[in-house]
């Protein structure tokens, strides 16, 4: 970490960006897609189609009248064959619309939205079905409508991609750099921000070069567009860390980026939004990095949303070793899946399949209080103290020691020599606090 880094902590996670040079391959429509009604933070959508309905690509199949939601669109054309319940990666249940593909990919008659003011802009963003594609799944139209709109002066484009293996955002920067730029300009206009910072880790020089070059063409004194190279140190892409590294501002616990005048958007989200504004075709595909020691041909694939993971892996050339661990997302924060039948979600950016030897669970031993987790925590928490409070179910101590500030980045457990499952323990602590606040 550089001496002047705005954020203490973090870890040197291995990069393993094996697929950085793999140009994205477009996957043909699978036999069926399973569209979960819960692909965002907030209440799930309700299916707007019935079994037997014929649907086209881009047609709405699920929507909700709640603020914190985004519509779900058909990613293939065909017939709705079932409305069923699936188990999501986090173990919760969600409704899902299953569409049997007719292979024709007949598009729904979409038109570019008319966008002349902020309200129309927000309506268009909502209609695009866009959510935070970096992983959180925060509905974009909510993010772009902060309460203190006039106080927002900086838009930060997150292209840090600090998770090992994943190169999907990097490919977006390289392959669709002009989409990124036009998305940036649109948002700048409607949010009336004076500064845009595109943040990329220094281990992606090609992306930095390309984006710097095109940023130069629109960078003016009144509306700055800057590409900022960040140290390649995990977790640069974590929202609060990113804001501190690019602007020096610190988001207090329990607050949002908007509270310090920033809006942070994932780079793929920006590019997708600009394509939607041009064509009117909503979010129906996603680029995924397929990698891991069990994958025969690691690569980047653009897949229709809702494609079962097993079909995606098969398309890339299948497995070269039996899978022991399957991850949705990166190895630091991704979720381990129990099987391959789960469908691709909007917020997915990688599927990693690991063979037996890379899936060994280390045996935990007692904490020796070496303090490596304390040094590694970007949120300046003290995991060992919190772990004891979790053991004692001491909700008071957990709150006092700010367990809710934990963003589960995994730096503590990564660096622990005693191999303690610290993230799991802290998650338990957060659940204890949530349960207690619900009771009172």
């Amino acid at each position: 970490m550089s001496l002047f880094a705005a954020v203490r902590g973090g870890v040197h996670a291995p990069h393993r960006k094996n697929t950085a040079e793999c140009e994205s391959v477009i996957m043909p429509p699978p036999a069926k897609v399973i569209l979960s009604m819960s692909q965002h933070i907030g209440p799930p959508c309700k299916p707007t189609v019935a079994v037997g309905d014929a649907v086209c690509v881009g047609q709405i199949v699920g929507d909700s009248d709640q603020l914190f939601s985004a519509p779900i669109h058909a990613s293939v054309s065909g017939t709705v064959s079932a409305i069923t319940e699936i188990t999501m990666p986090n173990g919760s249940k969600a409704q899902a619309v299953v569409i049997d593909s007719d292979g024709a990919m007949t598009p729904y008659p979409v038109e570019p939205p008319v966008v002349e003011n902020h309200a129309q802009f927000l309506a268009a963003v909502r209609a695009s079905g866009l959510v935070g594609l970096g992983g959180a799944g925060f509905p974009t139209h909510v993010k772009l409508n902060p309460k203190n709109l006039t106080a927002i002066d900086t838009l930060i484009i997150n292209a840090a991609e600090c998770e090992p293996y994943i190169t999907a955002d990097y490919r977006e920067c390289v392959e669709n750099s002009w989409d990124v730029l036009s998305g940036v300009q649109t948002i700048m206009e409607f949010l009336d921000t004076t500064r845009v910072i595109i943040a990329i880790e220094s281990n992606k020089p090609e992306a930095i070069r390309i984006l710097s070059e095109i940023a130069k063409t629109v960078d003016t004194a009144e509306r700055q567009v800057i590409v900022k190279s960040l140290p390649a140190r995990y977790p640069q892409g974590a929202e609060k860390v990113l804001i501190a590294q690019t602007t020096g501002r610190q988001v207090p616990p329990g607050k949002l980026p908007a509270d310090v005048g920033c809006v942070v958007m994932n780079v793929t989200s920006i590019a997708m939004l600009s394509r939607f504004l041009k064509t009117g075709m909503p979010l129906i595909t996603k680029r995924l990095t397929i990698d891991g020691s069990a994958i025969a041909n690691p690569q980047n694939v653009i897949v229709p949303l809702g494609t079962p993971i097993c079909d995606v892996i098969e398309f890339t050339g299948g497995l070269k070793a039996p899978v022991k661990k399957l991850l949705m997302g990166g190895p630091m924060m991704g979720t381990a899946l129990a099987d391959m039948s789960l469908p691709v979600l909007k917020q997915n950016n990688a599927i990693l399949a690991f063979a037996e030897e890379d899936a060994v669970l280390p045996e935990a031993s007692p904490c020796i209080r070496c303090g490596k987790c304390v040094s590694a925590c970007p949120m300046k928490l003290t995991p060992p103290t919190l772990a004891i409070a979790v053991q004692l179910e001491d909700v008071d101590a957990l709150q006092k020691r700010d367990v809710m500030t934990c963003m589960e980045c995994g730096c503590c457990a990564f660096s622990c020599p005693a191999k303690r499952p610290l993230v799991q323990i802290l998650r338990q602590g957060k659940d204890l606090v949530r349960a207690a606040s619900k009771k009172s």
Partner: protein, 317 residues
């Protein structure tokens, strides 16, 4: 695809290549220069004391875990570190059964009775030494003259036992290279500093505690005596280097908070100087560290870091 149920576990799914055993191995490596120096200075008697202490600690650890029906922890090598540190804190002429008893006290009483590695609240090696010091003051204060290579167990004055620094038979160079009476591993300050630098480079310890501890002793001694020479003499003499680099930095018994480390090391330095200048004992490092060990939980409580982004402690005051 094949029977598709996979291993489900919490993130992160990547771990750094490190372990308790690797850390302890680094500490052992860092102790090697002082080990070589002690054997060079005190000969076969040093070898015997080291072998007995390490053997006693390993056996105590193994048998404690066996009798308590707990998972075996000899493999983490922490008992070897304790054995080496205990030996380094004893005079070369100590009867071997006393050295062995020190190992039993360190491991069984100070460590295993409180739950084993990570659970002891005081440094086990220091408790072993203090118990021996209280029980066998004669044997614990018989110092071999290293120049005689231990052939005659004549009692010789340690650098801190002299009336004043001005009357000391030792100069700073002698203190640095270790050719004077003292505990096995404490005499050669140079070897201990090499070990300390290794630990810092390997990121096993942060330099905070040793620097603040030694710095405090230097500054306070300088203020009291008014002499830079005396202050330098005091940081090179006695068990300060060994204590500040290897004992006060013990993970389990020192604070994990950054500011806690500073306060803890300041306390160690202050107590060491108080005991050395005005206490009835010539040396105070062991007691200073043990007292600060006991205060560690309290220090941690008052030095808790504010979380990222929080300006003032307004919420929980």
């Amino acid at each position: 695809m094949e029977d598709n149920r996979f291993l489900v576990s919490s993130s992160p799914h990547l771990r750094e290549d490190t372990s308790t055993r690797m850390i302890m191995l680094d500490v052992i490596i860092a102790l090697i220069p002082a080990l070589v120096a002690s054997i060079w200075l005190f000969g076969w008697q040093a070898v015997a004391v080291i072998v007995v202490c390490v053997g006693s600690c390993v056996a105590s650890e193994y048998l404690s875990r066996l009798i308590l029906k707990r998972p075996q922890t000899v493999g983490d090598l922490s008992c070897i570190v304790t054995g080496l540190l205990l030996a380094f804190n004893l005079p070369a002429s100590i009867p071997l059964w006393e050295a062995a008893l020190g190992g039993v006290v360190a491991i069984v009483v100070a460590k295993q009775m409180f739950g084993g590695i990570g659970h002891n609240f005081v440094n086990p090696a220091l408790i072993g030494r203090i118990v021996l010091l209280m029980s066998f003051p004669g044997d614990m204060n018989t110092w071999l003259n290293p120049v005689g290579r231990g052939l005659d167990a004549i009692s010789s004055a340690t650098p801190l036992a002299v009336q004043s620094v001005a009357e000391s038979p030792y100069d700073l160079g002698t203190l640095f290279f270790g050719a004077h009476a003292g505990s096995l591993g404490e005499t050669c300050a140079g070897a201990l500093i090499i070990g300390g630098i290794y630990l810092v480079i390997r990121r096993v310890i942060k330099p905070t505690i040793p620097l603040v501890y030694i710095g405090t002793v230097f500054v306070l001694t300088w203020l009291i005596t008014g002499q830079v020479y005396d202050a330098t003499y005091h940081i090179l003499a006695g068990g300060l280097m060994l204590g500040a680099i290897f004992m006060a930095t013990d993970y389990t018994t020192s604070p994990i908070t950054p500011w806690g480390k500073v306060i803890y090391a300041l306390g160690c330095g202050l107590l060491t100087v108080l005991i050395r200048q005005w206490g009835s004992l010539p040396e105070g490092v062991s007691f200073a560290i043990v007292i600060m060990n006991i205060l560690t939980p309290l220090i941690e409580r008052v030095t808790h870091s504010r979380p990222f982004g929080q300006k003032r402690r307004e919420r929980h005051a």
